[in-house]
Structure formats: structure tokens, C-alpha cells
Symmetry: C2
Subunit: 198 residues, 2 copies
DNA sequence: CAAAAGTAAGTAAATGTTTGTTTACTTATA
DNA sequence: TATAAGTAAACAAACATTTACTTACTTTTG
């Protein structure tokens, strides 16, 4: 049996993210992707059932999974609140800086019904998705360090500004001067922390 | 000369937003839209040059413009900081609750390169886009009420969590119990305000 | 221990469908 | 009656996916 060429599999995923990032999800076609990845359309369909299946797996495995892993590096739920939040923010900033294309598909995850559905299904099925972060909030709320709010509110207050800053960071890459520096990022993180404290 | 039917023009825009919201931007085609709006494809091309032109105008006029108008209602740059932020948040929440389809396209504005480009061009051309909010931050920073940060950081800290909460609000509409209540929304607004104060 | 057989990986080209847009024509009103 | 608004049907190009075939490797066999 002919063994599969792992380089081709990776090229398909990598180039898909590139096209989505540069031209938009609505401009990604299977034929265009195959051509750009130097592969026959059929090759994509060996691994993925159809386009929908491909996009969902790309989103969940390549983007969500890698993001989750990166953000939780050296983070534990029992960290002191400010230190924990700073760790999550710096982890995320570092990861996205090095994975711009993944960030683009991540953003689509918030608007596209297809990916949104995938996200919610995963969230329900895998109860331990971001579980350490859940637990981190829970512990700090119990200890009276932060206000008691639903997890959804914690996520909105803590992560939404971070995403927006990363977005701005990429926008400014195409302009003469970058304003989203590590210093500014840290200042914003402080503001978010302060807002959540009791 | 036969006068144009304004109802048809509106149907085109309304139904486009509906399709984008329910099936995603990538599933909106001109022929599908025409059929759904009970109109010949040609009719769309009377007013709009092509699909790109249509989407950009839909995004800017129907979504951004209406959002801007709604959010600035009874808001002035000289308002006291907490009161001003609360006004912006409640205006936005009310507007989106009544315009779910517009919110969907708004979210795409952050991911789609096409709409993103349109957004940035508008932002540059019309210097007074959200000018009252700009000025509001400027005044409060000068007065020493809030930290001094770039406008981009203010926007990230102030608006990003609000958008995320609206997003959650719509997600929870399809579940047994709504958790994004006016009360929770107000609590989160307080947290954001507190974080920005000096 | 080489050569043949078996097999999944891979390709190029074609499938029928849907796409954005246009053509040739009709309709409604100033 | 002049004219822009509107329609139905058509256009080539691009779409997702499949068909029919070849390739490259593993395993079995003589």
C-alpha cells in the first residue's frame, strides 16, 4: 500500500488558512485550494468527506485546538488572579503573532453559522474545553477576589478585548508604525484585571 | 418614466441580511437573493454595480450607519464618564436586540477582508466617524478621569466585551433560559468602567 | 530474497450544478 | 410616446464532487 504523503496533507491545511486569511472564507474553493497546494482535488477528498467536513476539522483541530494548547501553557487554575490573567494574555498574544492565518479563521468562527455550530457542539461534547480557565474563575470568585458572574461574562470581559487588540495589531502591521506594543497590551490587561476585581 | 419600487429595494437589503444571518455570507448568492426577494437578478444590478459593491453598501449604509446612529442617541462627548459609557452600552444593546440580522453582518465585518477594507476606507475618509466617542475619551483622559491610552485601546476595552455579550445573548435565544439579562449587561458595563478609571 | 500481486494514495479530466452578470424584451408611469 | 424599471431566460466561468486511471509502496509468494 502506498503510504500517504504527510507533507501534502499539511500543505492543504496551511494553504487553506492562508487563502482564508488573505481572500476570505467566501473565496476559498476546493479547486483553488487544490491547485495552490499542488495537489489533485481528489486528494483532499481522501481525508475529508466534503468541504463542510474539511472546514470544521480545520477550524477545530488546527485553530481551536492549537490556540487552546498555546494559551494554557504554564497556566494553572490555582494561580493568583492577576498573574493568571497576564499569563493567558501573553500566551495568546505570542501565539497569534506567530499564527496570523489561524487568527483569521478564528474570527470567522464568530460569524459563520457553519463554524459557530461546530464550536458549540465541541463546547458541549468536550466538557473540559478550557476547563482550567473555568476553574480559575470559579476559584477566584469563591475566594472573593473577583465579582461573581456567569462564565460567559468572564470570557467576554477577559478575552474579547484581547482579541480586538490582536486584530488591531495585524491591522497596524500594514501601516508605518505599530502601536499595539507589548507595553500597551500589558496596560490593557491591567485595566481588564482591575475591572474584574471586587 | 417608470418610477422605482422602493419596497423592492428594501426587500433586497432586508432579505440579504436575513440570508447572511441564517446561512452565512458564504452562502449568499445573487440569484438566491433575487429569488428570495421576489425580484429578477437584473433588478439588483440597477442599483448596484456588482456583488462586491452591493455588499459594501449594505454593510456601510444599512449596518454601520444605522449602528452609529443608534449608539449615539442622546449621547454627548461631555457626559460624565460612567454615565456616557452606560448610555453607549444600553443604546447598542437595544439596537442589536431589534436588529439581529444587522449584527450578523457586523460580525462578518471583522473577519471578511472585503468588508474590513470597506470599513477602514470609511474610517479614514470620514474623519468624524464615531467622532463624539473619540472626543468623549479625549476629554476624560485630559481631565484625568481615565488612563491615557490610544483610541484603539479604548475601543477594544469598551466595545469588545459588549459585542461578545450581544453575541452570547443571541446564542442563548435558542436555549431554554436567557442568561444575558439587562442586569448582567449592566454589571459587565460597570466592570469595564471600573477598569478604565485611573 | 527478488519479483509479482495487492492496495490505498494520488492524478487529470470530466460531471452536473450553481455562480455572477448580461441580453433581449416587457411594463408602468411622467 | 419616451424612458427607466423591471422581467425571464440565457451566458460563460467557477463550483463541489466523481470517474477512470496511474503510481508507489507493502506484503506475499515462488
Amino acid at each position: 500500500m502506498r503510504p500517504k504523503n504527510l507533507e501534502k496533507e499539511e500543505a492543504i491545511r496551511t494553504i487553506a488558512l492562508q487563502i482564508i486569511s488573505e481572500e476570505g472564507l467566501e473565496n476559498l474553493s476546493m479547486q483553488k485550494l487544490a491547485k495552490a497546494a499542488n495537489v489533485s482535488p481528489r486528494t483532499i477528498y481522501i481525508k475529508y468527506e466534503n468541504k463542510e467536513d474539511f472546514l470544521i476539522k480545520l477550524f477545530i483541530d488546527e485553530v481551536l485546538g492549537a490556540y487552546e494548547k498555546a494559551i494554557l501553557e504554564k497556566f494553572t487554575p490555582d494561580m493568583e488572579f492577576a498573574a493568571g490573567v497576564k499569563k493567558l494574555w501573553t500566551n495568546a498574544f505570542r501565539y497569534f503573532k506567530n499564527n496570523r492565518h489561524a487568527f483569521a479563521l478564528m474570527q470567522y468562527g464568530k460569524s459563520s453559522p457553519l463554524l459557530n455550530k461546530a464550536y458549540q457542539e465541541r463546547d458541549i461534547k468536550e466538557g473540559d474545553y478550557f476547563a482550567p480557565v473555568h476553574r480559575f474563575f470559579e476559584l477566584n470568585a469563591k475566594a472573593g477576589v473577583i465579582r461573581k458572574l456567569p462564565q460567559e461574562a468572564y470570557r467576554a470581559l477577559l478575552f474579547a478585548p484581547m482579541f480586538e487588540l490582536v486584530n488591531e495589531y495585524f491591522d497596524f502591521l500594514e501601516r508605518p508604525k505599530q502601536i499595539i506594543t507589548d507595553k500597551l497590551f500589558a496596560d490593557c490587561c491591567d485595566a481588564v484585571i482591575k475591572g474584574m476585581l471586587k
